[in-house]
């Protein structure tokens, strides 16, 4: 057999080489065949990661360079992905669901860890198929402060949180927090907080295999009149900032046993036109400027809390005032780069693009659309990796 094979190969080779020789001889300059290769890494620099979740196929996670909005590459996942960059920005966590027959059959839910530089998979961790199959949004896939654990929000529809040990590559705990939703990691790596339907915020603190749940004063927020978005960002002073449907920022201290409301800041007070936030990831924060950026729409009404933006508001948490209002249509998710000259990125619901906004007027601190790319398709959340 092996003899026959090598004879066969020789014949093919002679034929190929003969043809080539003939061709090359006629060419004026010698033809050098090109090589088919694979790029080993993406280009260096900060990225924006767009979660192109699919409900009946592979979710596509798109990586763009922040400066040029150049397409760096992608990773693929299963159904209804959630994404989260690691603390050091070098890895990307992706939660998604794999069904044996794509839209039915046994479900395998997995957290996959990708190396951003090479866009290759470093680890896959199977988690219980209780993980929420939800639209991409903050608070459903999170990590603890020192990035040793990954948290997964469950909904069956009863709610709980799965705790994954990243190093061990396995689930180490599951916490029932019924009636609560969203994971807000504390500065204490053994702790996270969550929003509850009673209007309370609860903190879960781990102690080895056990955990303890402490509850804020009930009615910290009013679920009917001023519901909170499931999104919290920690500010420079260590407080959680949680935006509400009506445009209030709830400043919450989660350092004690039970969370406490420190202050409620209205970013719309004194502004005409009944403006309110809208979208799936309505707010982003730039630490160096201590400034939040919020997707806003006018003429708000009950039910408009997911309506896309008309403007992006830049609000100084330090000065407690609006710094600028930039026209920005159709965005439902917002991410801002860090540093003193931020770039904004948004998920455009209407055009199904990722949009890039850069500083147009440094003095007025206003932004205009500088780039856009339609390879993302429809997305509802995105993140910067640094």
């Amino acid at each position: 057999m092996s003899f026959k094979k090598s004879v066969m190969y020789s014949a093919i080779l002679q034929c190929l080489v003969g043809t080539l020789m003939f061709s090359s001889a006629q060419a004026e300059t010698k033809f050098v065949p090109e090589k088919f290769t694979v790029e080993q890494t993406i280009k260096p620099g900060p990225n924006v990661i767009v979660n192109g979740a699919s409900w009946d196929g592979a979710s596509k996670i798109h990586i763009y360079g922040q400066e040029e909005l150049n397409y760096q590459g992608s990773v693929s996942a299963g159904l209804v992905s959630q994404t989260l960059p690691s603390k050091d920005g070098k890895q990307l966590y992706v939660l998604s669901h794999y069904m044996k027959r794509y839209t039915y059959g046994p479900v395998e839910s997995a957290v996959q860890i990708f190396d951003i530089n090479t866009l290759t998979e470093a680890k896959e961790i199977i988690v219980p198929n209780k993980a929420a199959h939800a639209i991409g949004m903050p608070g459903l896939l999170e990590r603890n402060y020192d990035d040793s654990w990954i948290y997964v929000q469950n909904a069956t529809p009863a709610t709980s949180v799965t705790v994954v040990d990243k190093k061990l590559g396995k689930v180490i705990n599951e916490v029932a927090v019924p009636g609560c939703f969203g994971i807000f990691p504390a500065k204490d790596s053994n702790k996270f907080s969550t929003l509850c339907g009673t209007g309370a915020i609860k903190s879960v603190t781990f102690n080895g295999n056990k955990y303890e749940i402490s509850e804020s004063k009930s009615g910290l927020f009013d679920v009917k009149k001023d519901a909170l978005y499931v999104q919290a960002i920690r500010n420079v002073n260590g407080l959680l900032m949680i935006p509400s449907f009506n445009g209030n920022i709830y400043m919450v201290d989660d350092s004690g046993k039970a969370p406490k409301l420190v202050e409620k800041i209205s970013i719309t007070k004194g502004t005409e036109g009944n403006w309110a936030p809208g979208g799936y990831q309505v707010m982003s924060y730039n630490k160096s400027l201590d400034m939040i950026f919020v997707l806003m729409h006018p003429d708000a009404y009950e039910g408009s809390h997911k309506d896309a933006s008309s403007e992006i508001w830049a609000y100084s948490m330090d000065k407690k005032k609006i710094i600028s209002r930039s026209p920005a249509e159709n965005l439902v998710a917002l991410a801002v780069s860090q540093g003193k000259t931020p770039i904004l990125f948004g998920s455009n619901e209407e055009d199904e693009t990722v949009d890039q906004y850069t500083l147009a007027d440094a003095k007025a601190f206003t932004f205009t659309k500088a780039g856009s790319d339609d390879k993302t398709g429809w997305s509802t959340n995105l993140q910067v990796d640094q």
Partner: protein, 180 residues
């Protein structure tokens, strides 16, 4: 309404049992059940909020017609998020053949302009098929995040089924709203 009760009981029977089995922590089954019950069932019974503004259809350029079930502005769709089953081989209240009925649902409170009453609308997903490409509608009147799960429309309500793929959504009248 029997339907809703059955569904919710089915949910608790199946899911919390299995969930509890998987938890070996310092929280009792009873307190868990009680709280989950309060959150999921309680939320479906929320009193009407004090506003009655019309929601917006996803495709805002379309003709608004609150009496047309083929339009996203149909009154029943005040908190819908999904592809209409009626455009996918099913009807306003039934799944297309071969799809599976969702065991759980979210609930909206919608105002019927023809009789001036407010109705509880159960938005059930049909499951186990690829997402139908039929008319997609999104409205979020009185919709709330996952901490009020029974009102939440950003999640796949096939979550409690064996076949969990999302196919399409129906809008079933299950009750008159409290105070209607």
């Amino acid at each position: 309404m029997r339907n809703l009760i059955d569904q919710m009981f089915a949910l608790f029977d199946k899911r919390t049992e299995s969930m509890s089995r998987n938890m070996a922590h310092n929280h009792g089954r009873r307190s868990f059940l009680a709280k989950a019950g309060a959150a999921v069932i309680g939320s479906a019974m929320l009193p009407l909020l004090p506003f009655e503004q019309a929601g917006r259809a996803y495709a805002s350029e379309e003709e608004e017609n609150p009496m047309d079930p083929n339009s996203c502005s149909y009154w029943r769709y005040c908190a819908i998020d999904g592809n209409l089953c009626s455009d996918c081989g099913g009807t306003l209240t039934s799944c297309p053949p071969g799809a599976e009925a969702s065991k759980v649902s979210w609930v909206g409170t919608c105002h019927n302009p023809s009789d001036g009453k407010d109705y509880l609308v159960s938005y059930n997903d049909c499951c186990g098929r690829a997402m139908c490409n039929g008319t997609y509608c999104l409205k979020s009147e009185r919709e709330r995040p996952g901490y009020q799960m029974g009102l939440h429309n950003d999640i796949n309500w096939c979550m409690a089924n064996t076949s969990q793929g999302y196919h399409c959504t129906v809008a079933v009248l299950i009750g008159l709203a409290e105070g209607a």
